[in-house]
């Protein structure tokens, strides 16, 4: 079902995602350097065999720092999206079967969360609770949750009146069984695609917060902090900024292309069968 | 010259690198003033044939063969729809544009044929045609919107729309299948009434032998894209010559007891020209020759033709 990467965009996206994954997962394991290892003598070294991307303003190996930053971004993004998916699907599908009053309350909750631009919401919560990765994940998940929740609800509502659901009910299946075994599996396809499209959003959000200095704390490597440091030292060397930027673009572009190809692949597949 | 001539008509749908043969070497003629019934089950190709004649096939359809209306080559995409060709579709609920009044749509339908005629004249003609198709208070109806009408009424409107351009050939594709039994009976009675005043010809596509038996002058039976039998109505039902036709008639549910006959198996689907008899796999009279050569439509006299080695 997922092997519909006949589109060139999808293949490109898949390739980018794969590269980023390998970079982020294997990089930290294979690198001989410590991402926080300061070596001032080596600052702003040009790309060389020793340092494939060069070094930053404190002499730290850029490649290593990027790998760690990528890993961080990937982990953060998948964790956040997973959390939002779980919460969104659970609540959204639940409203399709719950009592109308309860459903209304949940939906209003969705609207409230969705009303805040995610960046502003994040800033507000950081202001209240301080910074740190553990704070970031629930914050961003919360801002994504209504998105998944609404779509999950629409899907569940549509499926609720499907003939096979009526048939299962007629056989005596409980609502819980119907939800878990019959409704959820038929919803997941589109949702997975959406999640893939939302991953770059989270990555960008994290990068943005870190760029503003409100994300991860240094000396932890983050794409955002590397961007801001690179920006500050642009005159000395463009390498740090370019490298961090390139990785960020690769990640967001890759997931976007892949997600869109998957989404297009799901729909016309049904049409081309006729 | 016959009004409609089909010769060697074949149709393939191309998709995903594969081809599906919807029609294989279909040949038939239709004279003026006659009603032809096109009968078949799912996968027979009857709807595809109707669309092919109308020129409404999708781009991925590959049509070969000769189709001529009054000598005009239909495959050359002459602009005959709304002038000499008209069609009534199966689903009356979705065939009308919901945002325009009936009057507007009926007047619009005449523009292909008479682009110069003033709107008021076209509306008047529309009202007269609505009356002819059994709709009471037609002037008032012209101002209604489609959603205000029931299925039966809408189908009458669609029939009126098709007849307004005075087509030489009217094709009705399962026009009563979506309607209730008593309303369908009304529409069939309407067709029977109209046929007497009908200048042109009609093709009535249906899966129902019963409907076709009453209305049509001749019946053509399609199976898996092949024309297997064609005959004047009385002759077809009195003495069907093709095993499939016989089996189909036998499957009509009557009040008798015992097990109902069925045709075991499923309709086959082909990717190209068929080298054997399309019905062989399910035929009670199947023999060696059936798998080796595709039977041609043989003339059995009296306008009766069947494609069977043993007809």
């Amino acid at each position: 079902m997922k092997v519909l990467r006949r589109s060139p965009g999808g293949s490109a996206g898949a390739a980018l995602v794969l590269s980023v994954l390998i970079f982020g997962l294997l990089g930290p394991l294979l690198s001989p350097y410590d991402p926080t290892g300061i070596d001032v003598a080596q600052r702003f070294a040009a790309p060389s065999w020793l340092h494939p991307f060069g070094t930053d303003q404190l002499g730290r190996d850029l490649a290593t720092r990027l790998a760690y930053a990528t890993r961080l971004a990937l982990g953060l993004a998948s964790g956040t999206v997973a959390l939002a998916l779980l919460g969104g699907v659970g609540l959204g599908a639940g409203t399709a079967f719950a009592a109308p009053r309860l459903a209304q309350i949940v939906l209003i909750g969705f609207d409230v969360l969705a009303a805040f631009p995610s960046l502003i919401l994040a800033l507000a919560i950081i202001a209240a609770l301080g910074r740190g990765i553990d704070r970031l994940v629930p914050i961003i998940a919360a801002s994504l949750l209504p998105h998944f929740g609404r779509i999950a609800r629409a899907q569940a509502l549509g499926l609720r009146s499907a003939a096979f659901v009526e048939a299962e009910r007629a056989l005596g299946a409980s609502t819980g069984r119907i939800l878990v075994m019959h409704i959820l599996p038929n919803m997941l396809g589109p949702l997975v695609v959406l999640a893939s499209l939302d991953l770059p959003v989270v990555v960008t959000l994290e990068a943005g917060l870190s760029f503003l200095g409100l994300g991860v704390t240094p000396p932890l490597a983050s794409l955002g902090t590397m961007l801001s440091e690179g920006f500050a030292n642009l005159i000395r060397s463009p390498a740090p900024l370019l490298a961090a930027g390139a990785v960020l673009v690769a990640m967001t572009l890759g997931f976007s292309l892949l997600g869109e190809a998957l989404r297009d692949g799901l729909d016309p597949r049904l049409r081309s069968l006729s | 010259m016959s009004l409609l001539t089909l010769d060697g008509v074949s149709l393939d749908y191309i998709g995903g690198g594969r081809a599906v043969r919807a029609l294989d070497d279909v040949a038939l003629t239709l004279e003026r003033g006659r009603i032809l019934g096109l009968v078949g089950e799912s996968g027979s190709g009857k709807s595809s044939l109707a669309l092919a004649i109308m020129g409404l096939l999708p781009p991925r359809a590959n049509l070969t063969g000769r189709l001529r209306l009054d000598g005009i080559d239909l495959t050359a995409a002459p602009d005959l729809r709304g002038r000499r060709l008209a069609m009534v579709f199966q689903d009356p609920m979705s065939a009308l544009n919901p945002v325009f009044t009936l009057g507007r749509q009926l007047a619009d339908a005449q523009r292909a044929r008479w682009p110069e005629r003033p709107y008021r004249d076209r509306l008047a003609r529309a009202a007269a045609m609505l009356r002819r198709t059994g709709i009471a208070e037609p002037e008032r109806r012209l101002e209604s919107y489609p959603h205000q009408l029931s299925g039966g009424l809408r189908q009458r409107v669609l029939i009126a729309m098709a007849l307004l351009c005075e087509p030489d050939l009217l094709i009705a594709d399962e026009p009563v299948t979506a309607l209730d039994v008593t309303i369908a009976a009304q529409i069939m009675a309407l067709f029977e009434e109209l046929r007497d005043g009908l200048a042109g010809s009609m093709i009535f596509v249906s899966h129902s032998l019963a409907l076709v038996s009453r209305l049509c002058d001749e019946v053509a039976v399609l199976y898996a894209g092949k024309l297997v039998e064609i005959a004047p109505t009385a002759a077809l039902f009195a003495a069907p010559r093709h095993p499939y036709t016989r089996a189909l008639i036998a499957c009509e549910i009557d009040a008798g007891g015992g097990a109902l006959p069925t045709i075991p198996g499923t309709v086959p689907s082909f990717g190209g020209p068929v080298p054997s008899c399309v019905f062989a796999a399910r035929c009670p009279m199947r023999a060696e020759s059936c798998a080796q050569a595709a039977p041609r439509l043989r003339d059995l006299g009296g306008g009766h033709r069947a494609a069977c080695h043993f007809a």
Partner: protein, 308 residues
């Protein structure tokens, strides 16, 4: 014959819409009752309510002497084992991501029954080779048989077949009908259909519905041979039959079915009825006997020996 199902004064409504009004009927064990009518007649709605899938606004239904209303959760589950349904669109009634094998095992799993019940059913319905297929890979007839097997797996005493031949080619309709005429364990069958030939063939008794009310009931042969209610007569006359010589008179029931939101006063059929007279406009006829085991709700029923 013992009475399996008893319905009295059943009324079913959805908001402002009354789908079925004051319907009463009985079904004996092992018999086949045909529910006949056109769209808007309420036949599908009534059938579903009779087996407890829809709530009743008024009236009561007893299955094997037990009321189906007011049951607790366990009671409702037990009811599902006694009364089952095969839906009109069989392929759509099968969960798309389940294999046929899983779909067949589902009812047994839901009720905690042993799986050995399945084997004889699978055999009998010719489903042995279909176990690993998915619903979208089945033909119309195959899907119908799978749906039927699922309903029969629970060995219900009452089975509803909702338009069993809908969507099936003529050449395979016989498959389903032959199966329904010879069901294992002989449950009572509630056959909902607009196709009179189907009902005539399979049903023992028939109930004709118009705009949510039962207008006539009686033994199938008697009713089809000599209908008492003018609507039944019109339905029978309108049913398509192979007739190349055009022997049958052109049936013509004029007019359109009324809107269920605005039923005509008195007898709902009177605007279209060829026999309508003053009393028909003023008062609604109650079902009254018109022959042995026959009821018709009409002020001027056709006498059972009179041609319609």
């Amino acid at each position: 014959m013992s009475t399996l199902l008893e319905a009295e004064g059943v009324t079913i409504g959805f908001g402002r819409l009354i789908a079925v009004a004051d319907a009463s009927l009985t079904v004996a064990a092992g018999e086949t009752l045909g529910l006949v009518g056109e769209s808007g007649s309420g036949k599908s709605t009534l059938a579903r309510a009779l087996i407890g899938l829809l709530p009743l606004r008024a009236g009561r239904v007893l299955i094997e002497g037990e009321a189906i209303a007011g049951l607790d959760r366990a009671g409702r589950k037990r009811l599902r084992r006694r009364a089952q349904i095969v839906l009109q669109d069989a392929a759509a009634s099968l969960s798309p991501r389940f294999t046929v094998a899983a779909l067949l095992a589902e009812p047994l799993r839901i009720h905690g029954l042993p799986a050995d019940r399945l084997a004889p059913l699978v055999e009998r319905l010719g489903l042995s080779d279909l176990g690993s297929r998915y619903p979208h890979e089945l033909s119309g007839g195959q899907a119908k048989r799978v749906a039927l097997a699922r309903a029969l797996a629970l060995a219900p005493r009452l089975l509803v077949a909702d338009e069993p031949t809908a969507g099936l080619d003529v050449s395979v309709q016989g498959e389903v009908l032959n199966l329904l005429a010879d069901l294992p364990d002989r449950p009572a069958l509630l056959l909902v259909s607009h196709d009179l030939s189907v009902v005539r063939r399979v049903a023992d008794r028939v109930a004709v519905l118009y705009l949510g009310r039962i207008v006539e009931t009686g033994p199938a042969d008697a009713l089809f041979g000599a209908p008492a209610h003018p609507y039944s007569a019109a339905l029978i006359a309108a049913a398509p039959v192979i007739d190349p010589e055009r022997r049958r008179p052109r049936p013509e029931l004029a007019g359109e079915p009324p809107s269920p939101f605005a039923p005509p006063p008195g007898c709902a059929f009177h605007p279209r009825c060829p026999r309508a007279a003053d009393p028909c406009r003023r008062s609604r006829p109650e079902p009254a006997p018109v022959g042995p085991a026959r009821l018709a709700a009409c002020h001027f029923p056709l006498t059972v020996s009179e041609p319609p």
